[in-house]
Each structure stands twice: as structure tokens, then as C-alpha cells.
């Protein structure tokens, strides 16, 4: 190492750590969730607030304990991209960016393939809800910055929720709000050898899994759902699972989305209330 340029501190101080020294890493063998107060079907508490970005037409900030992200919506505005042909429908573009410090590993400043794909998925998840037919020749841009990520599934579902609240906050005509929800399938109970997989115990469905839990997941699902129209706008499942687990988790997610909808509803009403008191 270049000692001349990288001058280390002369004194060293014990690092501030979150856990006591005797802290054991969580494993699913404990038959409990990482956060022992949560039941398998429990989500983390959600903090959702609109209007924190002054420049944007609409914005929202969402926090699920250690998952934190901000979303800004710009538009409708004229389509600027050259080479774009005439379109009778509005153009929705989403961009999700993980801050370089948001994950365990430092993320690159350049958009990586995963961010590109998530952006595309986000567009697919949100466009069924927006009345793009009312916005010919216009573009709506949704930008999401992930400040802190505690599990990709929860991060992505929070992005969907925040983006649809920000869109509603921007006054864009929508058919419904879109709530996003994630779940992981985790094999709990005592560890068993892989070879004796015949007597398989069905894995547990942990709603809104965090990063520690995601490390042990067999599979995961992210579902985007429009509660009052009863329509799934996106589903993304990875990992291996039985059909029954899938249908069960879809049902759980739909249920959870209804709960999230209540939070979104509340956050938007709060913003109306604030406006009223200002008048």
C-alpha cells in the first residue's frame, strides 16, 4: 500500500457496532424471523411521505426500517428524445438508481444491467395504472434513488409503492394506485441434508424479507397489485418452488398489498390536509 498518500490515523478507536460482540448471525434454523418480533406474515412498519422534493412535480419518500428510498416524478412534459415517432399515448420512463453506498458492496456510478432491468420492470408495473391515453405526445419521468437497501425484494416493492404515490402526488390521472409487496420462501427448522430432500417440509413464506433473511431464501416473489381494480400489474418470481407455495404467496401478497394501500391512502390524505391548512 502507498503509505505516503493513504495516511492512516495515528490512533485507532474500536468501531461502533450495532450488535453486541457475542452476536450470532441469524439462521433460519431458529424457526423465527430475523426480527424476532415479526410473524411470518408481518411486514415492517412503513413510513411514507409525499412532497419532499421541491423541484419535482410529485415526490414520495418511503422507509421500511432499513430500506429507504426517494422517488421524484417529473412531467408531463414534451417528449425530448429525438427519433421518437408520434405517439397518441404518453411515454412513461422509469429510472431506478442504487446509491453507491446503498448495498453491502459498493455499487458503481454507472447504471449496471440489473438497474436497467429493474427500471424496465418498474415501467411495466406502473403503466397499467396511469391513464397514458390522456397524455398524447408527453412524457412522464420517474426517478428513484435507493438510499439504503435491505434486501432487493423489499427494495423493489417499496420502489413500486413510492413511485405510484409520487405519481398521484404529481396530479397525474391514474386508474388506481399500485402497491408492491415481496415475500421469500425460506426453509426453516433444523438443517437437513440435501440428499434426504424427499421428505420435504414446505418452506415458510416470510413476507417482506430483509437482507439477512434473503440470504437463506430458496426463492422470492415480488408482486405489484392494484387493490381497487383487483389486478396484478407485475409479478416476478425467482428460485424453485412448488405450485401451491406460489399460489399461497400470491394470495399473501395480495392481502399485504391491501394493507399497504391503506398506508398509501393515508399518506396522500395527509398531503391534502397539509395543503388545506396552508390555505
Amino acid at each position: 500500500m502507498d503509505r505516503k498518500r493513504v495516511a492512516g490515523p495515528e490512533l485507532s478507536v474500536a468501531p461502533l457496532i450495532e450488535y453486541p460482540v457475542d452476536h450470532k448471525r441469524w439462521t433460519p434454523q431458529q424457526e423465527k424471523r430475523h426480527d424476532s418480533k415479526r410473524q411470518p406474515e408481518d411486514m415492517r412498519p412503513i413510513y411514507l411521505k409525499t412532497g419532499l422534493i421541491g423541484q419535482a412535480s410529485g415526490s414520495a419518500y418511503i422507509e421500511l426500517e432499513k430500506t429507504k428510498l426517494a422517488c421524484g416524478v417529473y412531467g408531463p412534459k414534451p417528449v425530448k428524445r429525438i427519433g421518437q415517432t408520434f405517439s397518441g399515448r404518453g411515454l412513461l420512463t422509469c429510472e431506478i438508481k442504487f446509491a453507491t453506498f446503498s448495498c453491502a458492496k459498493r455499487r458503481n456510478q454507472m447504471r449496471d444491467p440489473q438497474e436497467k432491468e429493474l427500471s424496465q420492470i418498474l415501467t411495466q408495473a406502473l403503466s397499467p395504472a396511469i391513464r397514458l391515453d390522456l397524455l398524447p405526445k408527453s412524457a412522464i419521468e420517474v426517478y428513484i434513488t435507493v438510499l439504503e437497501s435491505d434486501g432487493l425484494g423489499s427494495c423493489f416493492s417499496a420502489a413500486i409503492t413510492a413511485a405510484s404515490v409520487a405519481l398521484a402526488h404529481a396530479g397525474i390521472e391514474m386508474l388506481d394506485l399500485v402497491a408492491g409487496c415481496s415475500a421469500s420462501y425460506i426453509q426453516t427448522g433444523p438443517a437437513r441434508s440435501i440428499s434426504s430432500g424427499a421428505e420435504s417440509i414446505p418452506p415458510q413464506i416470510f413476507m417482506d424479507a430483509d437482507l439477512e433473511e434473503e440470504k437463506y431464501e430458496q426463492g422470492s416473489i415480488v408482486l405489484a397489485y392494484m387493490p381497487s381494480l383487483n389486478e396484478v400489474t407485475h409479478v416476478l418470481q425467482s428460485g424453485k418452488a412448488e405450485g401451491s407455495i406460489i399460489s399461497q404467496s400470491v394470495e399473501h401478497c395480495v392481502e399485504a398489498c391491501n394493507k399497504i394501500y391503506a398506508v398509501m391512502h393515508h399518506a396522500l390524505l395527509e398531503s391534502v390536509k397539509e395543503n388545506q391548512t396552508q390555505l
Binding site: 453491502a104 449496471d112 444491467p113 409479478v235 418470481q237 428460485g239 395480495v254
Partner: protein, 336 residues
């Protein structure tokens, strides 16, 4: 590859599907005829070409190379595992729209989907957050690395390890889309399964030199090679397109333009779901979603059976010809 459709044509397709008859005479759950051929490119460890009557033409190659293992610094996972790196590229010759950067988005979408379905990390492997963070900025087709136990992808990666903690086989699975006729994803997965079946990995001999030093030698014997372990458990995917209130499989390009929402269902031979992804800009009702998953599952399983039978048949006929000393003729690239 058309990009626009007239309202009249859309209506024609929609009404046809409602009556269970499609423009080319198929019914809703019918596939087009699939032509499959393995061992088409001599430079690869395994290759396959899949053609769906009506246009789609995909060439999948598997190249096995030796490289260092990828170890997760936090958990220490991956020290005894090989890797699979997937990429999909749409050749500009397939469609004018793929020219230049036109295919970037499609390439990335297909690559990510393929990596997720083929190499999703099993339990206790690191989260898939870190798996895709190694970006390939220069190449046009985005590549993704992933580590797996016997996860959804089926392939036994531990068998691909040569020296734990040091060297392993890396399987590069590259799909090249030569022509576009709808239903790319299913064709890519069929091609991948066939190409992996065709893949032979040279055997290696490891010598222990003591002090944790190892040396290995790749045996240069064409007859003495290994098949890819766990290939039977690889998933195949079925794309269901929701048009109106109905859903169809194996959509043609025009039908894809009428699609409100598509659902890609990856399933393995024992009927386990290995992945699920919605595409396009429309919604699906939860009850219909479950119904689509179910029909995708049964269709995928029968597709695996048919595919395996045809791979086996081809391998047997090739073997019989070789034993009789006859030359093996492949259809080649310009055969119809």
C-alpha cells in the same frame, strides 16, 4: 419484426382468439412446429439451434472455460462452485430494429431473465443483489454472473469445481437470435437445454502437491468427457400472452403486438416452478394469474418430455450412423 398494428388487424386477432382459432390455424394452447438440432458449431463445448416454424431462429452455444472461483467475501460461499454466465444477443441481421443500440433493452431483459431462471442462487447462497453487480460495460450483450447450489437452474455447480477455492469451470451460455418470429424466450430456453445436453466437459486430474498447493491437468481425450451434472433438472419456460380475457402460448409477432400482458413461467420436469415474470404493460387478475401459472406448468412439463425425446432421438441416430461408419450430416444453417 413489425412494431405497429392497425386497429382492424388487432380486432381480427382478438376475435379469433376468443373463438379459439388463430390466424395460422392453431388453437390457443398450440405450439408451432419446432426444429431442433444439436452440435452445430464445432468450436463450442455444446451447441444447439432451435427454429420455430414461422421465423424464430436461435443459436445457443455453451463454452466451458477454466477460471478462478468467485467467493463471497462475507459468507465464504461459492468456493466450491462453478459458474454459469448467460448472455443473449439479438443479431442485427434478424431485424432492422436490432441495428445499433436498438436491441440493447431487449438483450438486457432476456439476459437478466435467463440468468435469473438458470442460475438463481439456492438457499444459503448470497443474495442475488451481489450476483449481478459485476457489470460488463463494454460488451453490447450484458453478461451476468451468478452462483448456485442446486437452485432453480438445476445444474449442479459443485460438480463444475476443479480445485475448491481456486479453479473451476465456467460455462458461458450465449444465445444468438438469428431471426425473429415471436416467442423468443421459449426458443432460447429450449436451445439452452439442448445445448447443455450436447455439452461435454473434459475430465481433469488434480494432483496434491502438499501445503495446500494443487496442480491439475486437463485430459486431452475426446472420448473421455463428462456430461453436465443436473442437466435433467434445468427449467424450460413457457410464455403465455394474455389477449382479451384469454391467454395463448407461442405468440406470433403480430399476436405479441396485441398482447396486454405476458407471463413467462419457468418450470422443471418435476413440475416445480423455477421462475415467473410478467412482461408488457397490462395487468392480470389474481385468479387469472394463478390459472395461467397452472396451464404454463402443465404445458412446460409436456414440452420438456417432447424436447428430451427429440434430443435423445437425434443423439441415438447420430450414434448409430457413427457406428455404421456413415458420415453425420447436419442440416446446417440454410436448410429449411
Amino acid at each position: 419484426m413489425p412494431s405497429l398494428i392497425s386497429p382492424a388487424e388487432r380486432d381480427y386477432i382478438l376475435k379469433g382468439i376468443e373463438c379459439n382459432i388463430r390466424a395460422d390455424g392453431r388453437q390457443r394452447p398450440d405450439y408451432r412446429e419446432v426444429t431442433l438440432e444439436t452440435g452445430v458449431v464445432s468450436q463450442t463445448s455444446g451447441s444447439a439451434r432451435v427454429r420455430i416454424a414461422g421465423g424464430t431462429d436461435v443459436l445457443v452455444s455453451v463454452k466451458a472455460e477454466i477460471g478462478p472461483v468467485l467467493v463471497d467475501p462475507e459468507t465464504g460461499d461459492g468456493a466450491d462452485k462453478g459458474q454459469i454466465i448467460c448472455s443473449v444477443e439479438c443479431a442485427p441481421s434478424a431485424s432492422q430494429q436490432f441495428e445499433g443500440r436498438g436491441a440493447d433493452e431487449l438483450n438486457n431483459e432476456l439476459t437478466q431473465m435467463m440468468s435469473r431462471f438458470l442460475s438463481h442462487s439456492g438457499p444459503a447462497a448470497s443474495s442475488f443483489l451481489s450476483t449481478t453487480s459485476s457489470s460488463s460495460s463494454s460488451s453490447t450483450a450484458a453478461s451476468t454472473t451468478a452462483k448456485t447450489t442446486s437452485g432453480a437452474g438445476g445444474i449442479n455447480l459443485s460438480k463444475l469445481c476443479i480445485i475448491p477455492g481456486q479453479q473451476c469451470w465456467i460455462l458461458y451460455v450465449d444465445a444468438l437470435v438469428l431471426d425473429y418470429g415471436g416467442n423468443l424466450m421459449d426458443a432460447i430456453f429450449m436451445g439452452t437445454r439442448a445445448a447443455i445436453y450436447d455439452t461435454r466437459i473434459p475430465k481433469t486430474e488434480v494432483q496434491d502437491l502438499g501445503d495446500g498447493q494443487f496442480e491439475f491437468e486437463v485430459l486431452d481425450d475426446a472420448e473421455d468427457t463428462e456430461e453436465v451434472a443436473g442437466r435433467e433438472d434445468m427449467p424450460l419456460c413457457v410464455t403465455l400472452n394474455k389477449i382479451g380475457a384469454r391467454h395463448i402460448v407461442d405468440a406470433s409477432p403480430l399476436e405479441e403486438l396485441c398482447t396486454e400482458a405476458k407471463l413467462v413461467v419457468a418450470v422443471n420436469r418435476s413440475g416445480e416452478l423455477c421462475g415467473l415474470q410478467k412482461g408488457h404493460e397490462g395487468g392480470i387478475e389474481p385468479s387469472l394469474l394463478l390459472e395461467m401459472i397452472q396451464s404454463g406448468k402443465t404445458m412446460g412439463q409436456s414440452l420438456i418430455k417432447q424436447l428430451d425425446a427429440s434430443i435423445k432421438k437425434e443423439a441415438e441416430s447420430d450414434l448409430a450412423k457413427r457406428q455404421r461408419g456413415e458420415p453425420v450430416h447436419k442440416l446446417g444453417f440454410f436448410a429449411q
